[in-house]
Subunit: 449 residues, 2 copies
């Protein structure tokens, strides 16, 4: 069985939904389909999920939101009509929304989660009805009935272990199942959504639960590229890469899929295929547990801005047992999450996202490190970017570091930090933030041109 | 005032001692002189300290060690005669050694410490007597009387804070003071030695205590070199380098001075000058708190063998708050001291000296990390070397990393790790141990030829 997920732009209109249904029907293995809410039809269109949030917010404050309500209904109405479905379908959507608005809730968060989930839920029902209307044995699956059990964190739900056991039973069904993404329900029966973009997570959980042969993720690009097209002109597509490579690239602002998406499929070693709804025969990009890395060592380049470095020196630091652990305890204790800790003999740098460190926090962290660790010096450097060169097998190849650092030098980029581990798939360079794009381009040119 | 320390080879014979005295008298600021025990006169000679250890061990076991006793006396006798001192001087040494052997001690360690200290102590007395004999206003200083107070760790004493206050008073004396290195005494009055090579530490403590203008350390080389002469032919001398550079180089097997030597002088920012007793007019190497790094970015190359890497992967590691701290706690808890922790998004390597990790310890560390941190994978790579490129100002120079990595690639050296911090004076490369010398040579050629 293949689990197939379609994103919002793939389902933004009746025409798009028809394309999606063609894609589903073109492969009998595509049986468990995860759908998003209708997305943007054109650049400055508004996603249905955003319309629903507006509706919820307005209604929560004023108990009245006719205009916002109408905007949501209009979007669905257009789709329902375009698919040739009858009045009863749009009435169903109308009643569903009304029911959600007028329900009673313990908290605003719970109410907003219920509203946000309406986009996927109604879209799934409409798509199932459309498939049935054209004679397909299709069925809408209610996440609550199917047992998509999540932790009780509104807007940031996590699948509970029993969810997998529950959802596994879906593999026994014979119909084409249309499953709304983005939400599940808590043990109390409340609707809970994932974090934004969470339909990808729904699909990943389902693929893991039914042990799918592949998790196909349809979006609006032909493939994942070796560099950000905003930084590099016409970057090369990546046909196959590994989970590890994907994680390293995703980290540096490489938007492949939603951050946590892959954990469930990764654990089950299920491959993921990124494909384009508007060009479904293109091979797309396959993400696999392993790949043959012969012949292609570097697979992608990415760069992310907004990091800072806390630099600490202390004479004889390397002979002080527990120094590293103690400094990380302070960092953790202050609620900071750090990225890397390159170190010398008598110094250590702690690299972290700088938006965590406001003036007050910076002052306190400095003070604590000085006082508790009796360091010689501490300074904080802001506005750094981390640039990654990623590829399995890089480590075995003499000269990659030389090529990368020489390319950066030629481009006039000063390397303030290098971090390469003992058997990693990436090499990381810290550079001044203003050099980020220049660095990415120089490295792309070196390894892909 | 200058504090001047002479090493064992500089004091191995009467002729050497006369040279040393000429050096002392050639500069009226050389007033506080720290002396070692007589060292080797020729390649397969035995140092007096080693003769004393043999004597102590034998006597402790058998209460008899005439032959060993005679060997020590003979060395001193040769020196005393060569300096034209009388019978009473060698009798003094004889009685001193006898007194040490026949004393009563709480433990073997205390006895051995007393024996070890005899080399420096008697040598200091002899040199003071010689200076007096040629009409110099010189005096032997007893470390106990002067207040060189150490912690009660036999063979690994540490100066107590009050030692500095006590020793400061020496700056008021008008004589040339001959101070035996390598030992002090505990608050109970017991003799305690520093770790091996500890005369350097004595000198450093004294220099800090009297706030010397410079700490001159006379040894048997003209200067410190930019690379180990055993690996690189005729390496260039380093005229000036900083404490930080020295620490980084010393770490990678660069034997400048004893490891802890510099802490006292570093704290007081007192410069250290390494000079050659056999070529005292050569400028030597000056180690300073700061230097003008313009024009010379790389100052030295060093490489050390015998490291291993514990490599740990866990999907979503970078999102797990406290992961780094937890793994370092396990390492610390197991009594291991680590060097560096290069990390990727989902992996971390812990680099440590591999002699700490026997089979049993390796098994337990692996087991604990797997169990307590639920990691995906752990592996240990042995036989690595850490190669350092060191120099203040390196960081500001575009292209150093490029030149270094390209030089390594050209030499066919695979880089398994790079660790460069955000404002450090060094760049570190992990390579296979067998590539250590090749890497040092390639880097030396790149930056010094």
């Amino acid at each position: 069985m293949k689990v197939v997920k379609f994103g919002g732009t793939s389902l933004a209109s009746a025409d798009q939904i028809k394309k999606v249904c063609d894609i589903i029907l073109s492969d009998p293995k595509r049986r468990l389909i995860v759908v998003s809410a209708p997305g943007k039809r054109f650049d400055d269109d508004i996603k249905v999920t955003d319309l629903l949030i507006d509706l919820g917010e307005k209604y929560y404050q004023t108990k009245k939101a006719e205009e916002e309500f109408k905007r949501v209904i209009d979007r669905f109405d257009e789709i329902v009509k375009g698919l040739g479905l009858g009045e009863e379908t749009i009435n169903m959507v109308y009643e569903d929304l009304k029911g959600r608005l007028e329900g009673s809730y313990d908290s605003k968060e719970k109410f907003i989660d219920v509203m946000k989930a309406a986009g996927e839920d109604n879209n799934a029902k409409i798509i199932a009805q459309y498939l049935v209307s054209i004679g397909v044995d299709a069925i809408y699956i209610n996440p609550k009935d199917a047992g998509m059990l999540l932790s009780e964190q509104c807007g940031n739900g996590r699948a509970l272990p029993e969810a997998y056991d529950n959802l596994k039973k879906l593999s026994e069904r014979k119909e084409i199942m249309i499953f709304p993404g983005f939400f599940g329900c808590s043990k109390n029966g409340d609707i809970v959504t994932f974090s934004r973009g969470g339909s990808d997570i729904s699909g990943s959980i389902l693929a893991a639960a039914v042990n799918a042969e592949v998790y196909e993720n349809f979006t609006d690009v032909d493939s994942v590229f070796a560099a950000d097209p905003k930084m590099v002109e016409n970057p090369k597509p990546i046909p196959v890469f590994t989970y590890k490579e994907m994680r390293e690239l995703a980290y540096s602002g490489f938007s492949v899929l939603h951050e946590e998406t892959f954990e469930p499929v990764y654990r089950k070693k299920i491959p993921v295929c990124i494909k384009n709804t508007n060009n479904p025969t293109a091979p797309g990009t396959l993400i696999t547990p392993e790949r043959d890395s012969k012949g292609s060592t570097v697979i992608g380049i990415a760069g992310a801005r907004g990091f800072c470095s806390i630099y600490v020196t202390k004479y004889m630091m390397n002979r002080e047992i527990g120094f590293g652990r103690k400094i990380l305890s302070i960092i953790e204790d202050e609620g900071l999450s750090y990225e890397h800790t390159p170190s010398g003999i008598d110094d250590i740098s702690i690299i972290l996202k700088q938006n965590q460190l406001d003036e007050e926090k910076e002052r306190r962290v400095k003070e604590r490190i000085i006082k508790e660790l009796e360091v010689d010096d501490i300074s904080i450097e802001r506005d750094l970017a981390l640039v990654m060169v990623v590829g399995e097998g890089m480590r075995e190849t003499v000269g990659i570091a030389g090529r990368a650092t020489t390319a950066l030098a030629k481009a006039g980029v000063n390397i303030v930090m290098i971090n390469q581990g003992s058997s990693e798939v990436s090499m990381m360079f810290g550079v001044q933030q203003d050099d980020n794009e220049k660095a990415v381009r120089a490295l792309y040119d070196e390894f892909f041109k």
